[in-house]
Amino acid sequence: MNHDAYDDTYIRSILNSVKTIAMVGASPVNVRPSYFAFKYLAERGYDMIPVNPGHVGKSLVGKPFVASLKDIGRPIDMIDIFRNSSHIMPVVDEALTLSPLPKVIWMQLGARDDAAAAKAEAAGLKVVMNRCPKIEYGRLSSEISWMGVNSRTLSSKRAPMPTHGQRLSLNRMSVGGGSTLAADRAAKDKLDPA
């Protein structure tokens, strides 16, 4: 897997297939990016579980916090890691002890750990790094274009009607659109200053 540039089909197949998402590092503070993403994904019908040992006893949009992945007690499809790059490996190690194994490890915008990714991929998991699932969902469904964002997709098909709390709009038929090569290069340079 080329972790510098993901195919839309790869991202779409992940967002279309996962149902249960554990968000590690979720924050109950409503101005944190993890809060925005958690709420957005919950509204799109994903079964969201907030994981943060510092907030056990509280809940995030009605979902109670758990201290660790082990405490979830039911199968999870995807782990969305809202921690910076240096804290990724322990989370992946813990994820790989779960049974059944999760299907996807997703590292948030700004986070990347190639060694952790390789370990997860060797165990058969799919990995996405340095992306936000909310932004990717918004981009592929074209919801995000409401904010003038380059979705990098084109389509001559009528979009499915946006349906509150359902994932229909993610199946918009599209081809690749305007690229953002300069931004991709800048992101790579920032993560790998050499």
């Binding site: 409401w146 009528r158 081809v175 300069a182």
Partner: protein
Amino acid sequence: MTDNSPGFATLAIHAGAQPDPTTGARTTPIYQTTSFVFNDADHAASLFGLQAFGNIYTRIGNPTNAVLEERVAALEGGTAALAVASGHAAQVVVLQQLLKPGDEFVAARKLYGGSINQFTHAFKSFGWNVAWADPDEPETFERAVTPRTKAIFIESIANPSGSITDIEAVAAVARKAGVPLIVDNTLASPYLIRPIEHGADIVVHSLTKFLAGHGNSLGGIIVDAGTFDWSKDGKYPMLSEPRPEYHGIKLQETFGNFAFAIACRVLGLRDLGPALSPFNAFMILTGIETLPLRMQKHCENSKAIAEWLSTHPAVAAVNYAGLANNKYNQLARKYAPKGAGAVFTFSLKGGYDAGVNLVSKLKLFSHLANVGDTRSLVIHPASTTHSQLDDAAKTKAGAGPDIVRLSIGIEDKEDLIADLDQAMS
């Protein structure tokens, strides 16, 4: 067409637009409305808190304008864009995100006269201080940088002189200074030059010109390249620090590589208010569909007319970068290989009076203060757009007393040459 990189003409027609989900309308509808209903109180709260994507009020965003924004972002290779009421509004909104009172920015001396006025007078009253540099000598930008410098501003093809700026050389200065490079790409349009590929961090346009192309609508746009790290040294608190306007969210942390476009929208457009009318957005979008075809014809006509003028006995000099002997021809070949644009100047041996006389005798060229129309346009900058500058500054801006500026349209070039010929004889 490959799946990941459709060509420019395909993007000019399709980017941002898809059939309307409700009606199936194929062209982009004009959402001529001030406001949009919320699903419920919770939806309203998440929209206002920037937690959900969606429409609230046309001063913040509008679905017709959003198509225009995505279209231009795609054409420029940026991550996102924000459309505003005019090119000048785009410049104010951009600098408001970057400068605090007492801060500075370095700008090329060769700029549209209105921009020189805006920077010198209006921005001074905000406490934003401009330092001028010579775009023909990129090292003058480096010399003008101080610890208070927050941005560098240039035009890709300068108005009125038609000179080409060495964008990569100025981008290197900006990178070294740790400040973003803003490029006004109005005169080139992304068809001729894509500044982001040469190191620009922000691109602005007056959409009023070639992008719209028809001279019937004002508009401006800001494109975020997604390349600048706003949080590395605390110099750009609008993007890196908790915003009190939004309960303490940090925009770069939340929106990643399109945070600058979001800042312009939610801190600039929302509070300063220069919103683009959805009707104008529709007119401009319609224009953009034919941008590649028009630019080809604009450049073909311009080259023919510049060559013809060079041989005319009343003409002292023709400043068109597309001519092989022009000072900027080397830069034109590098940055604008498809053509050196359609705005350029020439000087008349008869000086100021000959300029005024020419303008009054033309029958097909329109005498007015715009560029980038389908129609050919002419102006005598010294007595109009640049009249507020003193003689030395006029000459430095490429608008000396003997200079006439043309904006070549897409009529038949033979008719344009005949009109110039009769007016100069």
